[in-house]
Amino acid sequence: MLISDVEQLNEKMSYGLTNHSVLQADQVSVHYGDNQVLKDVSISLRERSVYALIGPSGCGKSTLLRCFNRMNDFVETFRFDGKISFFGHNIYDPDIDPEVIRKSIGMVFQKPNPFPASIYKNIMWAPKINGMDQDWDELVETSLKQVGLWDEVSDRLNRSGLELSGGQQQRLCIARTIAMNPKVILMDEPCASLDPISTAKIEELIEQLKEKYTILIVTHSMQQARRTSDFSAFMYQGEIIEHGITKDIFESPRERLTQEYVNGKIG
């Protein structure tokens, strides 16, 4: 097969509902009580790519994100219909432990939330409780190096993670997620509370991480979506209006709504 053929195939896989995707939502509908928040959402994420989820406030981006690692399970009124497959396994199958899913599908929150504990413990806690057995010093070092934090904090690993700056804290949270060796990293507006320099660092980091992980990032910044992602999905009132290659979504969207949103006319 020619390289271009492979690329084409890959592209097809990214928004076609194929079985080769890492994570695939299939006709997902979500209710909070009587309030329907997601309507028949289908999306498929392929390996080692960055997906941006954009759309106006309240359209259900965070809800969709939290469906992928079953963090919505903790909401009492949450009701889920449809299917989400992770390497072909339905993660809402009653036989599947949500904890196992959350191990492989990590999450980074809008506000950096390191544990009020040492930097060292922040990284090694989750692998440890999940029964991974390895050289913790090494794990801490490699995880921090991957997020470019090692040089900044290597001399104070025993100090509290809360003593770091906001941007450093967010990178610590990413390092903490990476330490679990997940397949997918979900990021819900990871730069929303950061300054431009920290934001640039995180974006750079996303660029590197995509070599190993699939990343789904929710963002309100069009520039960020364009800079960081390979594929984008535009959501509006609980539906995915359009998704595809980021360049297409921003430069030649098929839908009028998408065009209006990316040009800042609705939001």
């Binding site: 690692n69 963090m71 903790f74 009492e76 904890e99 196992v100 899913i101 959350r102 191990k103 990590g106 999450m107 929150f109 506000k111 939330n113 390191p114 544990f115 009020p116 504990a117 806690w125 989750a126 409780i129 999940n130 509290s160 809360l162 949270c173 903490r176 997620t177 679990m180």
Partner: protein, 315 residues
């Protein structure tokens, strides 16, 4: 173009000074109108608060000093190491101290795990529902029930039905009932103060609720929980009514040797002496009060020290 710019600047300048003047006027008018009155109220309020403090402290000082004047002459080693007796000079509080310490230890052993455990269950594990708010409301209500009611319950359940007789165990269990609501409420509040972002962080990393509670919620809440436990302990230490109902002795010339022995406690001993007609026994009671306060002071200081140790470790 230069001149027009200049005009613009001039204009801006007058604009700015107008704004400043307006602000100044507002301030000075404010001063004339009600600033004085507000300041007066502020001073008045401060005086009232200070008065309340002075009142509370002076009552305390009067009480304490009268206790000390009455009791200090009887305070000696013999007072601590002798059993109570009909003869004032041979009387002591040995049985009361032993009884109190044993009761408190058993009360804490039963009440802390149950109280903290219940709070964890209610606050961290229970689903949001009418049942949860029902349980929480009722626990708040339970903390307001007079302790003598718990004494009656203890008499019925522990002394009669379970057959513990008038033992230390029965007394301690009755006291546990009294302080359980306090511990549960304090612990719930301590847990509620932990931000949800920590819970999300732990759960999103694949932790179970138990791992989250054990490694992140409790370590951060211990200091606060301990504060509640200190309060509860002090309350239990001074509690008399439920123990009298359960059948504590008011005169015991022996040291209890096990949890099924009869017992008396320090507050009961004090209560007993104050009921005697002779003034000397009232002075003995005062001496007992001094010892009781000293013990409370020492245990509370120790607990506060421990609490601060906990706090330092977290941040």
């Amino acid at each position: 173009m230069n001149t027009s710019n200049l005009v613009l600047i001039r204009k801006n300048q007058t604009d700015i000074s107008d704004v400043v003047r307006a602000a100044y006027d507002e301030l000075t008018i404010g001063k004339k109108n009600n600033l004085k009155r507000r300041k007066l109220f502020n001073t008045l309020f401060r005086c009232l608060c200070a008065l309340a403090v002075v009142l509370a402290v002076s009552v305390l000082v009067v009480l304490l000093s009268s206790v000390f004047i009455d009791g200090w002459q009887w305070l000696d080693w013999q007072f601590l190491t002798d059993f109570p007796s009909r003869h004032v000079e041979k009387s002591g509080i040995k049985s009361g101290i032993f009884g109190s310490v044993m009761i408190i230890v058993i009360t804490m052993i039963t009440a802390i795990p149950i109280g903290v455990g219940s709070a964890i269950y209610i606050q961290e594990l229970m689903r949001e529902s009418w049942l949860k708010s029902f349980v929480k409301t009722n626990i708040s209500n339970l903390s307001g029930i007079p302790s003598i009611i718990y004494g009656i319950l203890g008499l019925a359940v522990f002394v009669r039905i379970l057959g513990f007789d008038r033992s230390i165990l029965a007394g301690a269990l009755a006291l546990s009932l009294v302080i359980l609501p306090i511990i549960i409420i304090a612990t719930s509040e301590a847990l509620a103060a932990i931000p949800n972002s920590i819970r999300n962080a732990a759960l999103a990393l694949g932790a179970t609720k138990w791992q989250m509670v054990r490694d992140h919620i409790l370590p951060n809440a211990w200091a606060e929980i301990l504060t509640g436990v200190i309060l509860a302990t002090s309350r239990a230490f001074g509690e008399t009514a439920p123990l009298l109902i359960v059948g504590a002795l008011s005169y015991a010339a022996f040291v209890p040797e096990g949890i099924f022995d009869y017992f008396t406690t320090l507050p009961i001993q004090i209560f007993n002496w104050t009921g005697r007609p002779q003034a000397e026994f009232h002075q003995l009671a005062a001496a007992g009060i001094i010892v009781l306060m000293a013990i409370l002071l020492v245990t509370n200081s120790l607990a506060i020290f421990l609490r601060n140790q906990f706090k330092r470790k977290i941040i």
